[in-house]
Symmetry: C2
Subunit: 348 residues, 2 copies
């Protein structure tokens, strides 16, 4: 016989009244024990629990609207990136601390233009979702309107497009991160520093490039647009862009990649040219995902505190749910340089 094999079989066993009589308590008291309430004396609880077990009382789970934890939806693009892993870890812990449960879906990745996106929004409403966290998302005007119309509070973690000014979002201090990465390379003596940047419209990437420019300006070094190439956030496109940089008349001696995954793409292109990191060219990443540690050589990178960003987003969402909106719609957590082995002074 398979355990829990017939969950739809009719409930067997005694009623709660029988259990209460067996334990020598009132039915309401027995009910309290069954429902896990705290206001029962330990000895009474023990007697009731023993009676429940002895008589084989079957407690079936049933949705308890008054006492069930509120459900937060967490909507991500992918579930098996280390980026998402860090975000989920942060959200889950903060949700646990707040007594909430999280429903996780990769719903955004399934949204299609035209035939929408409505599927998971409908689900939110049927479930009575208490709020939504969007990770690395890009919402359409229709989606924003739907959320507003249904009065579902939401917070965006590192949105990939500009968000309307009244939308609450959490990200990293991307501008400062761009400054930090660039200053590190300039301090080593590099003057031809390139950026393999994220998509042109991603606000996090734009801020990092602005930081890069600012660091150049502070050091009295001119900005050369041919050193700034846009790619997706993935390895393959970063690899191609790196080849373009290496084909320039004056190729860079250092590359700032706007994500660790892109830095791995830079590594791949350099290996294809027989160039060594950091002897021939220096590379700095952004994120500090586990792959930065495992890369060969281990990658110097700008750490953004993803789990903390996610936990912060959840706490802001709880404030919105409680009708206590934050004063600031945008929260940025600080970034810092993690020095490993992918940077060195330029050759010669």
């Amino acid at each position: 016989m398979v355990r829990t094999g017939s969950p739809s079989a009719p409930a067997a066993g005694p009623t709660l009244a029988v259990v209460a009589r067996e334990a020598g308590v009132s039915v309401p008291t027995a009910s309290k024990v069954v429902n896990g309430r705290e206001d029962v004396a330990p000895e009474t609880r023990r007697r009731v629990t023993e009676a429940l077990d002895r008589l084989g009382y079957v407690r079936r789970p049933r949705f308890d609207a008054a006492r069930a934890p509120r459900l937060i939806d967490v909507v991500v693009h992918s579930l098996d990136s280390s980026w998402s892993g860090a975000v989920l870890r942060g959200v889950e812990q903060a949700a646990y601390d707040a007594g909430l449960d999280i429903v996780v879906s990769a719903g955004l990745a399934r949204a299609r233009p035209g035939r929408p996106e409505r599927g998971w929004l409908d689900k939110l409403t049927l479930r009575g979702s208490a709020g939504v966290l969007f990770n690395l998302a890009e919402l359409t005007e229709a989606q924003y309107a739907w959320l507003e119309q249904h009065r579902i509070p939401f917070v965006m973690i590192d949105p990939v497009r500009e968000v309307p000014p009244d939308v609450v979002s959490v990200g990293a201090a991307n501008w400062q991160g761009g400054v930090t990465a660039t200053e590190h390379l300039l301090a080593l003596g590099h003057r031809r520093v390139a950026v393999v940047a994220g998509p042109r419209r991603a606000p996090c990437g734009a801020a990092r490039i602005a930081g890069y420019r600012s660091a150049l300006t502070s050091a009295g070094i001119g900005y050369h647009p041919e050193y700034v190439l846009h790619a997706g956030f993935d390895e393959a496109e970063a690899r191609r862009r790196t080849h373009e940089l290496l084909d320039l008349p004056e190729p860079p001696t250092a590359v700032f990649a706007c994500s660790d995954r892109m830095a791995l793409g830079v590594y791949a292109a350099l290996a294809e040219r027989g160039l060594r990191v950091p002897d021939d060219i220096s590379v700095v990443g952004f994120d500090d995902l586990p792959e930065a540690r495992w890369a060969a050589p281990p990658l110097t990178t700008v750490r953004q505190p993803l789990a903390e960003m996610a936990a912060t987003a959840l706490r802001l969402l709880v404030r919105l749910m409680d009708g206590d909106p934050p004063e600031s719609t945008r929260t940025e957590l600080s970034t810092r340089l993690v020095e490993r082995n992918s940077t060195a002074p330029p050759r010669g």
Copy 2:
């Protein structure tokens, strides 16, 4: 004003009757549109939607027991390992296909001996959880009893301890994987092959070691227990065990690590001794996580189909929920060798 900033404000706007009159339809028809039902003519839906928007009708989410997706709980040890990422991806897609939502928690990691584990089991019952998937879990007898008592169906993905015979579980063909890894090393000419194995009581590890022994026997090579060392599944302990192997009078020329993370620990120990992979010593892992590709050199490993295992577990859980238990309580998906650059014939 912060968007969705005051979700607890009283509902404003017109009643559904006003909307229906505005759109020239009956109230039940307007209600169908509001509730996303399909059985409404497109033109009618358009008229109602326009009226809803024009009048600013506020549709609030409310738990709809009859139509809300059923909730499955997915309980994991950690959320930010690539192992968990692959499992979550598989579960989420299969749940989506089955019209279910998943509540994700790292509840097991928080279970404490003595004061338990009851917290999240209580939550399952309050929410009326339709079923539970446990990933890499070890349940106590009390937890098994609780699940049975509440008739909550559950399936275990790669349990870390033996499970009772009536519990449904999904794993990889670990024995065959152990055979495959060992045969690969033997075919290269290795005769002194060591195993850095998982915890002694983990069934997946025991099956892999049995496969290793079987491959040795088939090749007419004696089994030497000093070549089989147990560790956790993490890097640090595998690193220490590797040093013990290297201190043997006749150290191995090849190591089969029972997880990719452990193989990285083996790499670290070898680097500390100035030994190169695969020139000085060959290494085979198990899992085929992303870090196997990123490792230097890229790791030859036994691939287990984690996302497929997870999707299979979800489908089995749905069968249990539907009162249609599977004939077999144990399902194993096949493993295969992924050859990369960490193995070579032994020196000399």
